[in-house]
């Protein structure tokens, strides 16, 4: 009897949880497959179509011009912003992993004066809310000639990714027994070599996880993309997607839904792929929101 009651509880709570998570997702999913007449329907579309996905890659926000009465003569496709976002994220992750893994190794292995200061400095950077940097980063990038440039945006993203990656990797390296490296050193390996040969391969799941989280951080950046980018050819996905909203009204719901899915799918798939490595510590700060 008691068992039955418990089962009832579990099932109803699970249902509630699923509804809470899936209602907004379901809506976007079904809208993306809906033909124009059915975009605001409640149920699954009766004539599901892939037209929206085809359109965002070939025509862009084409019907914006129709809806708003020739508002825009240009109808950008998702191709350029997708490429820009990918370019910035991949580059930022590459640079981040390069400098962060070495720094994290140093922080997890060596003892020296001033190490505590460096650790606190990185932790400070890690929890720092980036909106405060909006104005100075813009002014700085203008001075450096990196305003409205994907390179400048990538540099700004390092403010998210490097502290995060360094802090997380430090934790990972601390979890790998030092004795293994020492054994390698006894056999004649140099300190740096033992790091490359022994520690890095052992930390591979950690490295991949941190790289993916860094990638998602860069992918989801709105702040710096908003203030640093100024021309259409350089817009990233968050800016691109903003053009679907005109005066608070959704223009072209079908293509908007398709765009959102394409833009959200890559991070979500990456996340779920590494799900079993996701620990509390890692997730802390994956999104500074």
């Amino acid at each position: 009897m008691r068992r039955k009651k418990k089962n009832g509880w579990i099932i109803s709570f699970a249902l509630l949880l699923l509804l809470w998570i899936f209602i907004p997702i379901y809506w976007v999913l079904k809208t993306s497959f809906a033909p124009e007449e059915e975009v605001w329907g409640m149920g699954l579309p009766r004539n599901p179509t892939l037209q929206n996905f085809r359109d965002i890659f070939t025509m862009g926000q084409g019907s914006m011009a129709e809806v708003t009465g020739a508002m825009l003569s240009i109808s950008p496709t998702i191709v350029t912003p997708l490429g820009n976002t990918l370019f910035v994220a991949v580059l930022a992750v590459f640079l981040t992993m390069l400098v962060s893994s070495i720094a994290a190794f140093n922080l997890s292995r060596f003892a020296y004066r001033g190490k505590q200061v460096v650790s606190s400095y990185i932790l400070f950077a890690y929890v720092f809310p980036p909106f405060i940097l909006m104005v100075p980063i813009t002014v700085m990038m203008r001075r450096l000639g990196l305003y409205d440039s994907l390179w400048g945006l990538m540099l700004a993203h390092l403010a998210y990714t490097i502290p995060f990656a360094t802090y997380m990797l430090r934790g990972y390296f601390l979890g790998i027994p030092q004795e293994l490296e020492e054994a390698a050193q006894v056999d004649g390996c140099s300190r740096f070599h033992s790091f490359i040969r022994i520690t890095l391969p052992l930390a591979a799941p950690g490295l991949v996880t941190v790289a993916i989280f860094s990638f998602v951080l860069s992918w989801g950046d709105v702040i710096f993309a908003t203030v640093l980018l100024n021309t259409q050819e350089r817009y990233t996905l968050p800016i691109h997607i903003g053009f679907f909203l005109w005066g608070g009204e959704i223009i072209d719901p079908g293509r908007l839904a398709a765009t959102a899915l394409v833009a959200g799918l890559i991070p979500a798939v990456l996340y779920i792929a590494i799900q079993r490595f996701v620990q509390m510590g890692l997730v802390a700060g994956a999104v500074k929101g």
């Binding site: 579990i10 699970a14 949880l17 699923l18 809470w20 998570i21 907004p24 997702i25 809506w27 976007v28 809208t31 605001w40 400098v99 720094a103 060596f110 020296y112 004066r113 190490k115 606190s120 932790l123 400070f124 950077a125 929890v127 720092f128 809310p129 405060i132 940097l133 104005v135 100075p136 980063i137 813009t138 002014v139 700085m140 540099l155 390092l158 403010a159 490097i162 992918w219 989801g220 203030v227 996905l237 968050p238 903003g242 719901p253 908007l256 839904a257 959102a260 833009a263 959200g264 991070p267 996340y271 779920i272 996701v278 509390m280 997730v283 802390a284 700060g285 994956a286 999104v287 929101g289």
Partner: protein, 285 residues
């Protein structure tokens, strides 16, 4: 001996140097630049001149500043509170043993796995007059509303933040729950403690450290959340969701192009963040 240890210290520093320098350039220098800028007066297209604390006096006399401070608090505190409650409930639930638990654990992080700007787009559909929100209202027999109107905009964007952010608390709490030794519950069971008693006497106190860290991190990031209000309302309608990050953005880039004033805005609330950061860093470090 001394020079040698110095040399060895320096060689160790070499590893962290790239990180220290890069962060210096994109974080510390801009921070000091903000401080310097906040003390200037700069008409558009002219060179800045030093005016001392004038921008700060202007802010402290400006009702909009207090308004945005109030909005920031009204946004962040309820959001963090609700996220903590949902996160705790789901963590307790998914810490039970039952089939399909693993699948649910995977599903539970989906909202967090989606970038916040995508979540905002999802909620454009929820809050559209023809969207999910009003569909659900009609389902329970209420009249449809304009979700992003002056009256409802704040709770509406809090819900967006909550929907996206609660798995962060869930993950923290779940890790905390799993770290509690089961023997504690077993001996409590033997002593005849009720489940509720076990919860308040064992679970809650042992979760407290995790709770503090997760809450202070989230509070800081929610107070600094630029994405949600920007994507959902742009701070409006009128000033209904004008939080500090949005106010800073508007002053600097939309309305006045007033970098000094925007810098002073950021500087004025920086102490709040520094206090929170100090508290968090001390616990994490």
């Amino acid at each position: 001996m001394v020079p040698r240890s110095l040399a060895s210290n320096l060689s160790k520093w070499a590893y962290v140097l790239p990180v220290v320098i890069i962060l210096g350039v994109i974080l510390i220098v801009p921070l000091f630049f903000t401080l310097w800028m906040s003390l200037q007066y700069m008409p558009i297209g002219k060179a800045p001149t030093f005016v001392g604390g004038q921008n700060f006096f202007r802010i402290l006399r400006d009702p909009i500043f207090y308004h945005s401070l109030q909005k920031t608090i009204l946004y962040a505190f309820p959001a963090v509170g609700i996220k903590a409650v949902i996160g705790l409930l789901v963590a307790l639930f998914l810490n039970q043993k039952f089939p399909a638990r693993g699948v649910l654990r995977g599903i539970a992080i989906i909202p967090y796995a989606l970038p916040l700007f995508i979540v905002c787009v999802f909620f454009w559909f929820v809050y559209d007059y023809r969207g999910v929100g009003n569909f659900l209202l009609k389902l329970v027999g209420l009249t449809p509303i304009h979700w992003l109107s002056y009256q409802y905009a704040m709770p509406a964007i809090i819900l967006v933040n909550v929907w996206h952010g609660w798995p962060f608390f869930y993950l923290g709490f779940l890790a905390g729950l799993q770290a509690i030794p089961t023997e504690l519950y077993e001996s409590a069971e033997i002593d005849g403690a009720s489940p509720w008693k076990q919860f308040t006497a064992i679970t809650l106190p042992l979760l407290a450290p995790v709770f503090l860290i997760v809450c202070s991190l989230s509070l800081m990031w929610t107070m600094g959340d630029f994405v949600t209000p920007k994507m959902m309302t742009g701070g409006g309608p009128a000033d209904a969701t004008l939080t500090i990050p949005i106010a800073t953005y508007k002053i600097a880039f939309l309305l006045g192009l007033n970098y000094p004033l925007a810098s002073a805005y950021a500087m004025t609330i920086l102490p709040i963040f520094i206090a929170l950061i100090y508290f968090t860093v001390k616990r994490l470090g």
